[in-house]
């Protein structure tokens, strides 16, 4: 099982490879997108994308010297107005020597393959694959790997999909890092797509958006590594809290639960000041399922975290590498893996996983 890790700037490539990453993925937010203030992929942060294809070429060259493949995220939905920009990106990335693309919009595959016939195409978890018919469709369209949706499948369902994916001659990729996991289907969520921004007026957004836009514009003047580290630090510290305030799904709300009856709705319970973010997202850990993923023959373990600081990504990659190695010791039982896993978790994070919610608890064999 290989590990795929994200990188946000060229400086991160070597450390991630040394930590154990055998594949890398990234986004590129080039000038022709920045001019229009539109992002080229689903990660809408200036510091979680390379600035241009010159940097991508450098990263690919460094990775190739270590026999590590680089994939580029083209995982947004492109409209008629942005399609030409997407095509330009695919051609430039293919010329830069990337191994493939992580895509969401399967209706564009035919054209994408024409532009980059030598590249592989991976289905992003943002277009969630839940059944065998979708797997078959993906194979028919030319997708070679499917990333299983994060958090929306039971272990039993995942196993069925992995078996089906392999039977179709494709690779299966599963997330293998611990982090915040939203309970909603990310690929269907409209909160983060901002499509309904006009329906969620927020004085927090009005207060902080100008500053965030200014930071984004100033960042383009900074050298790449500094720009990336600045953004990552801002996100992970105070500004991370501020940014939470401007997302509609992270505001406070009240909840009036009602029972429906023929005579009308009857109030049942009222909860006030409930934070939607805490309702949706919690620190869930999926690491104890790594041995199960290995048993299934899952091809790639995906470490998420585009935009996270490098230290966190390195820690996640090393921990994933250690867990996979532990799982691959054929003599180990599930209980021994869990014990070893908890020890490795403590070494990596400095805390026990007792306070975490075990995502696959109760589903293991």
């Amino acid at each position: 099982m290989k590990i795929a890790a994200p990188f946000d700037c060229v400086e991160e490539v070597v450390p991630l490879i040394r930590a154990g990453a055998e594949e890398l993925y990234c986004g590129v937010w080039a000038e022709h997108w920045r001019q229009r203030n539109i992002f080229s992929n689903a990660r809408h942060m200036f510091y979680s994308n390379l600035k241009d294809f010159h940097q991508l070429r450098s990263a690919v060259k460094i990775a190739a010297s270590q026999r590590v493949a680089v994939f580029v995220c083209m995982n947004d939905y492109y409209s008629q107005g942005t399609l030409s920009l997407a095509w330009r990106d695919i051609q430039e990335a293919a010329d830069a020597g990337v191994a493939g693309f992580i895509i969401t919009d399967i209706t564009l595959l035919h054209s994408m393959k024409r532009l980059a016939p030598q590249c592989r195409f991976v289905l992003s978890s943002l277009n969630p694959c839940f059944n065998s018919a979708m797997v078959a469709l993906c194979r028919q369209l030319g997708i070679t790997r499917i990333v299983l949706p994060l958090s929306q499948l039971s272990l039993e369902e995942m196993e069925g999909l992995v078996t089906n994916i392999h039977s179709q001659g494709m690779e299966a990729e599963a997330f293998v890092n611990n982090g915040t996991v939203c309970k909603n289907v990310t690929g269907f969520c409209q909160f983060h797509r901002w499509g309904y921004r006009h329906l969620f007026p927020s004085k927090n957004r009005r207060r902080y958006s100008p500053a965030l836009s200014a930071i984004r514009r100033i960042s383009t003047l900074l050298p790449e590594g500094i720009r990336t580290r600045l953004g990552q630090q801002l996100w992970s510290t105070a500004w991370g809290y501020v940014q939470d305030l401007v997302f509609p799904c992270r505001q406070e709300y009240s909840l009036d639960i009602q029972r429906r009856s023929a005579a009308g709705n009857i109030p049942v319970e009222r909860k006030s000041r409930v934070c939607l973010e805490r309702e949706f997202a919690r620190q869930y850990c999926i690491l104890c399922a790594v041995d199960t993923f290995v048993k299934w023959g899952t091809d790639i373990g995906k470490v998420g975290g585009r935009g996270s600081i490098l230290a966190h990504k390195l820690r996640d990659v090393r921990l994933a590498r250690q867990l996979i190695a532990t799982a691959q010791q054929k003599s180990g039982s599930t209980e021994e893996f869990e014990k070893a896993g908890r020890d490795l978790y403590y070494q990596a994070y400095g805390v026990t996983c007792a306070n975490k919610r075990c995502y696959h608890n109760g589903q293991r064999e």
């Binding site: 229009r36 059944n131 329906l199 009036d256 009602q258």
Partner: protein, 279 residues
């Protein structure tokens, strides 16, 4: 808005409730967001028979599906094929879209909101304020030609919109391609989950996909109020919906072929008559 609309209207019908639709109406039966909420074979058959008796038309709405849901939908295709009044199927799953043409070849296929709403551009305010031409900004609401060709290749004849804004611009494009545009009002979906809020009594945790569904969504729902926003959201089943205020909309309705009145269950078993008051 409805007073300016001259196209077809349809209503969502809770066929397990006590009400029946008025004669001659088109009803939507099924669920867009939950494969557990697909009706049982007998229930669907009874509902379609009622529809047929009342000289109405039915559209069968299907959700995104796990393997289990796919099998359930396959089991229902026999009923759908047998009932002429059910002439359309709304598809919200790419995998299902690729197979339903073989399972129900005589039915008109409609691309549902889950397949389409992600084309609604984000950051539209920023793009417009960036000083680009209105044509440039409007193009961001339009579907790529590849998408329309792909849909046409699978026999999709209509596309359903979640957002009024999206429908207003993109429906003109669809008209030129001979594809109908349908719009859901007044509730747009915002987010959905396989962890059902209703089944978990609106408690956040623990989360489990192993819960037994008792179709609680038929009897409870929640209103979500924002202190900092006038947006009216509701939770029904596993999905958050938001109310779109469309009363003032007069322009742009002419290119929309159908409006589906989706009250998201705010009114129970929406229909026009009680089952017991058969005339």
């Amino acid at each position: 808005m409805l007073e300016h609309f001259t196209g077809e209207t349809a209503i969502f019908w809770d066929c397990e409730g006590d009400k029946v639709p008025a004669a001659g109406k088109r009803v939507y039966i099924g669920n867009e967001f939950c494969d557990k909420a697909l009706p049982a074979r007998e229930v669907l058959f009874a509902a379609l028979r009622t529809c047929e008796e009342r000289r109405g038309k039915a559209t069968f709405v299907t959700p995104f599906m796990t393997e289990k849901g796919l099998r359930a939908a396959a089991a229902l295709s026999g009923v759908i094929n047998a009932m002429i009044c059910c002439d359309e199927i709304v598809v919200n799953d790419w995998g299902f879209l690729s197979v339903i043409g073989e399972w129900a070849p005589q039915k008109k296929l409609i691309a549902g909101r889950l397949l389409v709403s992600r084309y609604f551009p984000g950051q539209d305010d920023e793009a417009l304020s960036a000083g680009k031409s209105s044509q440039d900004a409007a193009a961001r609401y339009l579907f790529p030609e590849e998408f329309l060709s792909f849909m046409g290749g699978y026999g999709v004849k209509a596309i359903e919109f979640n957002s009024w804004k999206h429908a207003q611009v993109a429906s003109r494009q669809l008209q030129a391609h001979g594809i109908a545009a349908n719009l859901y009002i007044p509730y747009a979906y915002v987010t959905t989950s396989r962890f059902c809020s209703c089944a978990h009594q609106f408690k956040s945790f623990p989360r489990s996909l192993d819960f037994i569904c008792h179709k609680e969504c038929g009897s409870i729902m929640a209103n979500v109020g924002y202190d900092k926003s006038a947006a009216a959201m509701i939770i029904r089943g596993n999905t958050y919906f938001i109310y779109q205020h469309l009363a003032e909309q007069k322009r742009g309705v002419e290119t929309i072929q159908r409006i589906i009145i989706n009250d998201a269950g705010v009114d129970i078993g929406r229909g026009d008559e009680d089952k017991n008051s058969v005339k």
